[in-house]
Structures are given as C-alpha cells and as structure tokens.
Amino acid sequence: MFSPDPKIKKKDLFDHYFDSLNKEILLRIVDKCYYPATKIILEKLDEGFSCSFSMSGILLEQLEKWSKDTLSLFEEVARHKNTELIGQTYYHSIASCFPDKSEFMEQVKLHSDLMHDQFRVRPTIFENTEFTFNNEVAATIRDMDFTGIFTEGVDRILGWRSPNYIYTCQDIPVLLRNTKLSDDIAFRFANPAWDRYPLTADTYAHWVASSSGDIINIFLDYETFGEHFWQETGIFDFLRALPDELSKRDVASVLPSQVVSQYSPVGEIDVHETISWADLEKDTSAWMGNDRQRTAFHAVQSAQTYAVDKPLWRYLQTSDHFYYMASKYGTCGEVHTYFSHHDEADDAFKTYMRVLADFESRNIRAMKNRKAAKTLRTLSPEQAFHFACPTGFIGHTAYNLDQFEELLYFVPQDSLNYHQERGDFARWITDVLEDPQLAESINGLTERHDLTNVIKERRELLWSHLK
C-alpha cells in the first residue's frame, strides 16, 4: 500500500515507491533457483553443453545489492565459451509498445552497455520483454545491428509452417520458440494430470530428436528450475540428465548466433498484430487486456514529459506492474494470481497510479510550464474524476484530462447531464486540475460534442506548452 509522503527525499524515492518485498522474493528465488540451477548448468557447460541467458538490468541491480555471490556465479556463466548473452530492454519494460520507438531503443542500448560493463560482451541476438513482437519491433532491432531476434512460434502467424526453421521478418532472422516442447517443461513438467507425467529427460530427448526441422528453440523462464517447480518435483535431476540424453541421440546444443549464421531462412513472416509468449492468447492482453492496464499504460507513456528522473520513470515501465493488474479466468487466471503478490488486481492498479501521480507531481517543480503540467498531470485514485448517476458510481474514472476527454465521448448522456447540473466538472477542473479558465468555458455545456471540443482544444494547447 503506497501513500504519498512529501517529506521523503528524492534519493529515497526508489525505496518509497518499490516494495521491500522485492528483496525477500529475490533471495527466495536465489535460494530455490538461481543458485542451484546455475551450479548444475556450469557443470554441464564445462562438459560441452551450450545454452544462452537473458538477464534484465533490474535483475543485475538487485543481485548487486542483495546477492553478490549469485552475481559472480552469473558472471562465470556469462564469460563461459559455451554461453551467449541475449539482449533485452534494461528495465524488462513495455516500452516497445509505445508508438515512438526512441525510448525502447534507449533501453535496449542501456542493456547492451550493461552487458558490456559487467560481462565484457555485447549481445548480438535480441529477445523483447515476454517475446512481444511485431514488424515494427523487428525493424527497430534490425536497425540496431542485431543479427537475430527471438519470438514465440505462434500458430496464427505460422499457419502450416514449422517453428523449427529460421524465418525473416523485416529482413532480420527470427528464431521461433517451440511452444509445445518448451511448455512441456515450463508448464506440464510436474502436472500429475498430464498423460505424459512424470516426464523424464530420456523421453524428452527422444521427442526432441524425433522432431523434424533445422533447429528447436527451447526458451524457458529460468525460475522453472526450482521456483515454479520445486526441487521435490525432480526438475533438477531432469536438468542434470538432459544434456547427456540429448547428445546420446546426436542432438547438438547450439547458440543462437551460431544458428543464424549456419542456417538460412526458409521464409518470411509478417506480423501486423503484436504477439507474445503470454498465456493462451499469445498477445499483449496480459499487460494491456483490460481498461485498468490501458489506463496505466497511457499514463506512464505521458509521464515521459514529467520524467526529470528517467530511471525512476523506467522502473515504472517494467511489464510486471501491468501483469499484476490483469483479470483473467481459467488456468491463465491461476497463473496470474500465483505470480502476483497483490490480493486484487485492482489494488495493484491503484497503488501503481498513486506512485505515478506522486512521481509526476514531484517533478512539476522542475518543469518550465508548471501551470500546464499541473493541469495535465496524472492523478491518484482519490483525485481522479469518477463518473456517476443519481444511484451511484458508473465505473468510468478519468485519471487525467486526456482520459477525461476520451471518456466524455461515450459516458452515458444521463451521467453527463447529472454532473453538469451539479457543476461537478467545473469544480473538479478548478480544484484538482487547477484550471479555472477551462472550468469557466465548459460551464453550462450539455451537448457531448460541445464539451469534448472545448476540452480537446484546451488540452492540445496545454500540451503544446510542455513540448
């Protein structure tokens, strides 16, 4: 639960905004997964097995702060000749979804620099947050001189084609995750209801060996080993046995950069809609599936203007914040609840908006046009405008002037009339947004399009002051 505290100094803001639970969770995962799994993998690397790793900047920061031993273990892995580091955004963020790609590129570059500083290597293959991918992402990454990019082997994109080959998208080679074989480990491994339970390394290696195609990309959450599936499930034995079982069947383990140089693409994929590896939908609905998430996404995007402190703003773009706000049913819903430490998605959303509102209002002081910044800022749930009718709240909430205009296009007419009769709009605009001039000019307007026209004009003028 976050509540703003003006006494907090700027240098302490990070701890004020982000839960101390982070440390506790990190240490739990270090203990259950990072440490034991990496030990096993190091052993296997020495024996000739190869695999690649992708680590966000946030993870390395947390390890640096709370678990230096693990960091040096990862360092050992990263510098091993049989591994490769994959590029991603420093903040594991949703920045690639912004229409303007410059922030995304900046974060990719930050990550690349970090890999270089920490491990002395620059990634040449890229994977976007949760495999979020479309033509634009591919083109952006191509222009940043990566030689290949990972994404999910989504059926509706591939059609009859197999994920076990290299394709190109916007002239960059694409490596597709083999969804079925990856999820056999990631989701089904310890599921007693699965007809192939218990899965052994022997069986699994057989499946891989009997698959057709050039390459099979198995890409897993690292936490699969020890955290999603605890040690008791036998997941570590599986991990330890798999490399040998694979080589027994002449399956070679190859690094992604070798793959793109050894195999030629067999075709092109064209991805207009955004895909990802999340849930069954394989799209962005895990982060932008509901209105809460979309509200938060637009708000963090417009917070760029207020972001005097870029790192703090970027921490707020991490995809997990949005994941916690998801509302889904079925098995995916269970996954979401398991991974979220918030009791309610709504709670997660409100906390996020409070933090964002506090972040913006602190930065206003340092901005040139404070008046415009004040009127356009994102608000906390307590300050936001809640649309109602005589019997109560009708479920629409405006967290800033942009969203207020957007909602005015479709909030039921009877609610508009109700608020205008009571003078609620004018009062909110005067008291919270501190723009008496705008309040004056909407006074008495009852036609929806008159209201939206006036607000649109004012909003655009104010934004032009901030650019």
Partner: protein, 380 residues
C-alpha cells in the same frame, strides 16, 4: 481502398433525432468510415443547424406528414434536395440507405451506386407475423421495393438476410451480412457488483440474473418468469432484475408475485451499465431476434449469457464456449440458468470468451472494412 465519398440516409442519428438502436448503429458506421479515411455526409432529421461531429457531416431536415408514410416521403424529398447540394464538384461514390424510411429517396437516386441496409423488417417488428392494416402493407411494400432497386442489400445477421430473401425475393448473391458492432468500453466498467446489488436490496453475494428489454411477447419475459419459478426450487438465493417497460408488465408482475423478481421499469443508460456489470448472468429469452444487441453488450461486460436458440443469438453464440443456448420454453431456460449459476467460474470463463469474440468480430473497425467490401461489390 482509395478514399470514398459516401452519403448516409437514415431517419435517426445519435446527436439529433434519436429513436432506437438504429441511430447508434448508423452513427458508428459513419464515424468509423471517417476514421478509415473516407468522407461521409449523413442526411437525417433534426431541428438544428448542420454540423460536423467526429468528421461526419450531418445535414438535417424537418419533414411533415399526416401519417408515418407521408412523413417519411417528405423526409426523403428534403434529403434528396440536400444531397444534390453536396453532390458537386465531386460526386458521391456510394449512397447508403438504412431501413425503409428513406426508400423514397432511394427511388429518386436509383441510378447511382446504392446500398440498402436492413436492420430489421416490418414482418419481424410485428412479431414474425403479417399484418392486414394499411401501414403494414405500405411499409412492407417499401421494403420490397427498396430491396428490388438497390444495387446491393445488407442485413445484420444471416437470419435477417434469409428473412429478407424470403419475404422480398432478394437474390442471395445481392445480399451481404454486415453485423452490428459494439464499443466494449461503454459496457465493461470497473464497478463493485456488491455495492450495486445492495442498492436493489439484494445481498452482495446473491447470484443476480438480469433481463433487459421491452416487456413484449417477442422478447419472452414470460418464459423467464416461469423458468425462475423452477430455478427457485433448486436455488433459494437466486435474484432477478427485470429492466424495461412494456405492455406485459402488469401481467408479468402478477405472475411473479411470489418470486424473487424485481421489476425496475425503464432505466437510464448509466443504470443499465451498473446493472450489467453487477449481474452474474444475463438472460435473453427472446422468441425472435434478428440480431440481439444485448448479447454483444453482455459479452463486452464479460458476462455469462443464457439465450434462446433463435435468430442472431443462435448464429453468434457458440454453445458452452461463450454462452448457453436453450429452447424457447421455460423448462429449457431454467436448465440453462441453473447450469450457469451452479458453476460461476465457468460462467465467468464463458463471458470472457464472449468478450474475445467481440474483440475479434464485433468491433466497428473490422465491420466497416466488411462494409467497404460491400461497397466495392456494388460497382463490380
């Protein structure tokens, strides 16, 4: 497709004279066409100066007449006058007429690229029966004539298309299905169901069944009441809200005296959104439904739907995937409601999948892309 200049002829629109669901559908079609880069002039009724809203140019007229048919002919004549004024210097590419009201205008302009959209038929509005009074015959006649002279015809569902083909001998290859759309954000809101239920004196945890619609025979509210009698034998906690007014209200209230049914009468749009989001199950027991817009609204709000297996409902619901389809009788309806109520998790999942279907098929953007294909076929 290159940018088209399109004229809409419709007797109602969202920002002036508004009668029913047609205003919403026609206005959204027009606005989405503009979004997709086309120019739209919307000829309609209204006692206000012409205006441009969201890029759509509205031209208003004030018809008069001694009866509905004369009134609509007068409206058509004014629309055509207005139309001619905007037909220069660039001529309109397509003329799109909605329902029977502007068919007289279609008659004057029949040499152009014309499209007539059926949102319903007089036969359907009359409860799937023929009438013997003169308005019925006159209006049906206009529907037949419009279907005959228009270059292309659209209907909101395959069911309505079949009806139009059978009633008015419109050939299959001339008629396309262009469904109704919905703006899901209007109906899915963040609201606490318990709080809304309490405002109706319903316990926050009691399962709430919602009926919305006119209380007329076609909509089957009587089937619902009889079904609830059966449901209550199994579930003492069920609560029903019946929203909407109509001829049958008195009769229904009498029948439901000893049942947990709340008749709340006509409600505002805001109140509808509140109730829709508070409901656990939405029931659509219609005897006939050319499309069934409530289905899209319930799906938008991610609600489990129990609906009659008729018309557009039958077409659009995938049984047990995104809703439960039942026969048109109280026994079957009671079975469906009980089934949905006993597995709330499953009801939620079905509602969610309904929403997915809405996002795939019933947003205005893809629908309007389909509509422009119909336009293209008009000249092919």
């Amino acid at each position: 497709m290159e940018s088209l200049k399109i004229a809409f002829f419709c007797w109602e629109s969202m920002y002036a004279e508004r009668v029913g669901g047609l205003a919403r559908a026609a206005t959204h079609l027009a606005e989405t066409l503009v979004d997709q880069g086309h120019e739209v002039h919307f000829f309609t009724r209204g006692n206000i100066p012409d205006q441009t809203i969201k890029g759509v140019n509205y031209h208003y007229c004030q018809p008069s007449g001694n009866n509905i048919v004369e009134y609509c002919d007068s409206m058509s004549a004014s629309m055509v006058d207005q139309f001619r004024r905007y037909d220069t210097p660039h001529r309109f590419d397509f003329l799109h007429f909605h329902d029977w009201h502007p068919v007289q205008a279609l008659h004057y302009l029949q040499d152009r690229n014309t499209i007539l959209s059926f949102h319903s038929t007089e036969y359907g509005r009359n409860g799937n029966q023929f009438g013997d009074w003169w308005e019925f015959k006159e209006i049906s006649g206009k529907e037949w004539y419009g279907g005959l002279i228009a270059k292309r015809v659209t209907a909101v569902s395959a069911t309505l298309k079949k009806e139009v083909m059978q009633l008015y001998n419109v050939p299959d290859e001339k008629c396309d299905v262009v469904p109704n759309g919905v703006v899901p954000r209007e109906f899915r809101v963040a609201i606490n169901p318990g709080e809304v239920k309490k405002s109706y004196n319903i316990h926050p945890y009691a399962p709430l069944i919602l009926f919305i619609g006119r209380l007329v025979y076609q909509k089957g509210p009587d089937l619902l009441i009889e079904a609830i009698r059966k449901v209550c034998r199994h579930r003492w906690d069920a609560q029903v809200v019946v929203a909407g007014g109509g001829d049958m209200r008195q009769f229904l209230q009498e029948r439901a005296k000893d049942l947990p049914v709340n008749f709340v009468g006509y409600i505002s749009d805001s109140e509808y959104v509140r109730l829709l989001n508070a409901a656990d199950i939405v029931v659509i027991p219609s005897r006939n439904e050319p499309f069934g817009l409530v289905l899209l609204e319930a799906w938008s709000a991610e609600k489990g739907v129990v609906a009659s297996n008729v018309g557009g409902l039958s077409e659009n619901i995938d049984a047990f995937e995104n809703g439960i389809k039942v026969d048109v009788n109280p026994e079957s309806l009671a079975w469906g409601i009980t089934m949905m109520m006993d597995e709330p998790e499953n009801a939620g999942a079905m509602g969610k999948r309904g929403r997915t279907k809405v996002d795939r098929l019933f947003l205005w953007n893809p629908i309007v892309r389909g509509l422009t294909e119909t336009y293209a076929r008009t000249v092919a």
